[in-house]
């Protein structure tokens, strides 16, 4: 990243590491080297404490109860929304809690599908799609930002189209300009691919979408944890994120939606706490964000999510980005200099985060992961929920190392050096 903040000092890094209990684990006889934060991040003590404190003292239903505990729980829950919304540059009524990023994408896709079936009345007319309309995603997408759109197209008769990638996995902007056109109603793409690891040119893609009046959904799963993020400044219409990738527990994510859009979007999940009047004939719905939060919510998880962004803000996202840019550059450079390693994505991009996927010789990624695991080094192997991208790159699986604020340059080196074990076992393959 082209950040100018100072990376973390060794002392700061040591202090941060001490906040993460799992970094003390021993795996296969070795101290854990956790390089799989792109899948899910470790959790600091302050987040787990906040969650537990809430569970032990403020367990109560929110937006439903009138007793003291219920009122306090509701305050905590809404306060958490304010803090997480502010963290990504959104207003509090523009942030909807979901189970994860996947559900957030599905929420938008199903709500559009519902509008297309006539739900939501006149206000939702602008969302209706059908035959002749086009939904655009990219070949780089995680399945979470791909299949929901394919399915929406299949349900509504709209056409699903997609932007190709170059040979190195980066987006082909020339092709984007061809694909995004008059018929395009929505463009969905990721801020940072979970395989290529470089920031996509959001402004260019938003401009293409705006020019044809299409909506933009940004998958911020791999950016929100690692970069300063201002969704309003990015001028996207929707964005999705996962709490568990940014120090929060599993079970919580968020959808950002522009105020005016959420106002007009029909509901997705229906049930309690999202209605005004219910009769046996039908229901009227609350304004957003409540309209999209049916049933008892992930309350202690929301509180913990807020504690997570507090932790990140205390250290500072600029500095975290600087730290990870340095780790990512080291990772990419060292991998690229191994003659038997193929690095996915550009080796010297200034837009790389602390994530790099690679193959070594013709050794299967599973075997690479296993031999690293035997050294206590946790990486992810497989298609990383991006099968089409892997097919495009001509591989079925890669190994992927991904960092976070608690990782050290020494851990990056341990990974690269650890590849010697692969060479030793598999010889020159």
């Amino acid at each position: 990243m082209s950040s100018i903040a100072a990376p973390l000092t060794e002392a700061e890094l040591a202090a941060i590491r001490a906040d993460f209990p799992q970094l003390g684990e021993v795996v296969q006889g070795h101290p854990l080297v956790y390089l799989d934060s792109g899948a899910t991040s470790l959790k600091p003590r302050s987040v787990l404490d906040a969650e537990r404190r809430f569970a032990e003292t403020r367990t109560a239903a929110v937006h439903r109860g009138a007793h003291t505990l219920a009122a306090e729980a509701t305050e905590d829950y809404e306060d958490a929304r304010r803090r997480v919304a502010r963290f990504v540059g959104a207003r509090e009524d523009e942030l909807v809690w979901t189970a994860n990023a996947t559900e957030a994408v599905n929420l938008v896709a199903y709500a559009i599908g519902n509008a297309s079936l006539g739900r939501g009345g006149a206000a939702a007319e602008g969302f209706r799609i059908g035959p002749g309309d086009e939904i655009v995603a990219t070949e780089q997408e995680h399945h979470a930002n791909l299949i929901p759109w394919q399915e929406l197209a299949a349900r509504t008769g709209a056409t699903f189209r997609w932007i190709r990638t170059h040979d190195d996995g980066t987006l082909d902007l020339g092709h984007a300009a061809e694909v995004i056109g008059e018929r395009t109603r929505l463009v969905a793409f990721s801020h940072v691919s979970n395989v290529v690891g470089v920031e996509n040119p959001v402004a260019e893609l938003v401009a293409l979408a705006r020019a044809v009046g299409a909506l933009v959904l940004l998958d911020a799963c791999q950016s929100a944890p690692h970069l300063p993020l201002d969704l309003r400044a990015l001028d996207v219409d929707f964005a999705v994120l996962s709490g568990h990738k940014m120090l929060a527990p599993t079970g919580i994510g968020a959808l950002y939606g522009r105020r005016g859009l959420l106002r007009d979007l029909p509901p997705f999940l229906t049930g309690g706490s999202m209605i005004t009047t219910v009769t046996m004939d039908g229901a009227d719905f609350l304004p957003p964000p409540q309209r999209f939060e049916a049933g008892t919510q992930r309350i202690s998880q929301a509180v913990a999510f807020a504690a997570a962004v507090d932790y990140l803000e205390t250290i500072g996202m600029e500095r975290i980005a600087a730290h990870e840019a340095a780790l990512g550059a080291r990772l990419a450079a060292r991998l690229a200099e191994q003659p038997d390693v193929r690095l996915i994505g550009p080796a010297d991009s200034p837009h790389r985060v602390g994530l790099a996927a690679f193959t070594i010789g013709t050794v299967h990624a599973h075997d690479v992961g296993q031999l690293l695991d035997e050294q206590g080094i946790a990486v992810r192997v497989g298609h990383h929920c991006a099968q089409p991208l892997h097919r495009r790159l001509g591989v079925t699986a890669t190994a992927r190392a991904s960092t976070y604020l608690y990782n050290t340059p020494a851990e990056v080196d341990a990974l690269v050096d650890g590849l010697d074990a692969v060479r030793r076992v598999f010889g020159g393959r």
Binding site: H366, D367, E374, G382, Q387, A397
Partner: protein, 146 residues
């Protein structure tokens, strides 16, 4: 470094390189295609039968060393067995793999497959070792007209 004493015994690496039975042959009584969705590994396996016996196992696939070696040893172990024996052998192998290291593989019955014993201690890799055996089980069902 536990590498050398670990999962990748020399026998496994050899089978991974040599892949006994590899290549599809015609005239199978049953066939099955198995895929591991986590990693994309796959095996297409054919069971060739003469009378009541396994005459040959031919297969093709791509995957990690464990899954490829396992298909290779499967070939060596089962060719010549009766169909009933094949069914039993598959069951024994599956039980051993799922035993988390608690159940040994009998060298008498399994030959080179004993090199796969260690896999049962790595739950994430059990599926790799079982891929071709699952294919064999399905192919056997087909061969028997089930």
């Amino acid at each position: 470094m536990t590498t050398d004493a670990g999962l990748y015994q020399e026998l496994i690496l050899e089978h991974d390189r040599e892949r006994h039975g590899h290549g599809l042959r015609d005239g199978a009584a049953g066939e099955s295609h198995q895929r591991n969705p986590v990693c994309g590994d796959e095996v297409l396996l054919r069971l060739h039968v003469e009378g009541d016996r396994v005459a040959d196992v031919s297969w093709q696939g791509s995957g990690c060393a464990i899954s490829m070696a396992s298909a290779s040893v499967l070939h060596d172990v089962v060719v010549g067995l009766s169909l009933d024996e094949l069914g039993e052998r598959i069951e024994l192998f599956r039980d051993a793999m799922r035993s988390k290291g608690r159940q040994e593989i009998d060298e008498e019955l399994f030959g080179d497959a004993i090199a796969l014993s260690g896999v049962s201690k790595f739950p994430a890799r059990v599926k790799c070792a079982l891929l071709s055996w699952m294919a064999a089980e399905h192919a056997l069902d087909t061969a028997r007209g089930l």
